[in-house]
Symmetry: C2
Subunit: 269 residues, 2 copies
């Protein structure tokens, strides 16, 4: 890994960058603890993260109920930490608009326990936090590891998390874009490098597991099978299958600009 000697002096005329850290697995998850460790080497860190797992929350926000937030301390690190009752998007809103004195220089979310590649970006609480920061004008990166286990090995990816974050601070993420970074499981096979990719065209085929509860009422568990129908070698799925780290620039302007012309031929009244 290259070292960026004196890099921190470049931000804000000598001041350390202010880095907001959040996630969707909850503030005690090993993934966010690893991320905090890396970020403490790069700047002043404030953590505002959910007090419980929020996986699959997409870009949910808390409208019809109240939010709680407590300052806590979970280890001996120099970071400031807040545990919050809301969703990942709520955490970013609360941090930026209520808890922080100034706008953060960067928001990082993760490291997620499990993939947020291809279509998973849509369902991802991790990425919704990054997108929320992006919408508020804060450079943002979501990190995810393709390993669901609580005991997943985050140590081997820490140097890459650091490198990507340093590059983002130095080169600036393009405007209106946030980064979606996914790491291959990479326990047995060494990581091959970092690839800038597009989102693969993939989807889930759901299989509902129908059961009957002790009171005789039917209920379902949502399970599914991931289908990647995209053969392109420029996709995140291809990169990850081949042990590369995937970096996808993600936008929150959802307009399908290419379709506007077509729709204008529909001749609305």
């Amino acid at each position: 890994m290259p070292k960026f000697e004196g890099l921190q002096q470049e931000y804000n005329m000598g001041k350390k960058p202010l880095i907001l850290v959040t996630n969707d697995d909850g503030i005690t998850a090993p993934g966010i603890r690893a991320l905090i460790e890396v970020m403490n080497e790069l700047g002043d860190v404030v953590v505002v993260a959910p007090d419980s797992p929020q996986s699959g929350m997409g870009h949910a926000i808390t409208i019809n109920s109240t939010l709680h937030c407590s300052k806590i301390s979970l280890d001996d690190g120099p970071q400031t930490e807040y545990s919050c009752s809301g969703t990942p998007a709520d955490c970013v809103k609360l941090a930026v608009n209520e808890l922080l004195d100034r706008k953060p220089d960067l928001c990082v979310s993760g490291i997620n326990h499990g993939s947020n590649s291809s279509i998973n970006v849509i369902y991802s609480g991790t990425m919704s936090a990054a997108l929320e920061a992006g919408i508020e004008g804060i450079p943002a990166i979501g990190f995810s590891l393709l390993d669901f286990r609580w005991g997943a090995n985050f140590d081997i990816i820490k140097p890459y998390v650091k490198e990507i974050t340093q590059k983002a601070l130095k080169n600036k993420i393009p405007e209106n874009v946030v980064l979606n970074v996914n790491f291959p499981k990479g326990v047995d096979t060494p990581i091959q490098g970092i690839k800038v990719c597009r989102q693969a065209k993939a989807y889930w085929v759901e299989e509902f597991d129908k059961r009957t509860n002790p009171m005789g009422r039917e209920y379902y568990w949502l399970t599914g099978k991931f289908i990647n129908e995209d053969g392109g070698e420029d996709t995140d799925e291809w990169a990850l299958e081949n042990n590369y780290i995937s970096v996808v620039p993600v936008q929150y302007d959802l307009t399908a600009h290419h379709a506007i012309q077509k729709l204008n031929t529909w001749q609305f009244e």
Copy 2:
């Protein structure tokens, strides 16, 4: 409004289209009841909608708890209806993969009580249902009225909902695109027409209302102010302010393709 005489005969060689109806305000909301009424004129209707309001749920899905679903009847219409404990995205997954015999020809979501224009598309349960259908290869439209009230007047927009749906069935929505349709409040001023638009660049500035509960613990209510910084006359916000109906084609490939080249200059190891 133009009539499409004999239009239904065009679909599936004479068969009526199968239309899946859902929303995020809950199955009893006046908005979805209005939508069902219009769809009953156009096809065979199956409703699978949340049993309680799910506003602001974004693209949340239910992973860590179970789903319940009951066949119910709320009025004398010919539609089949299911009330479901999940999110809007869950409802679509459950409908397509468990409840319906065949793939629907169209999925319509709404009519939402409140705007889903510009950046609101990101937080919208209504649009997440439409996007979920799109991801599963089903043509889909989300409808929203810029009026939050339970007693909002849906009658005046029904002919437009019908027209847009007929056009979508006849002309086919472009692949990998779903439609985000918003209606101006339009109670006092007549609707000027229908405009195909892009998503305006806008955002919310949150104001957290901090309070203390009877036990002395602090909590927050999330409130906010909508900021549209986009002066373009081709945006959904412009159209709605000028009493046009906005139709934005929305995509779920979130890749910022234009940023890939730039990121490739970062020289990752």
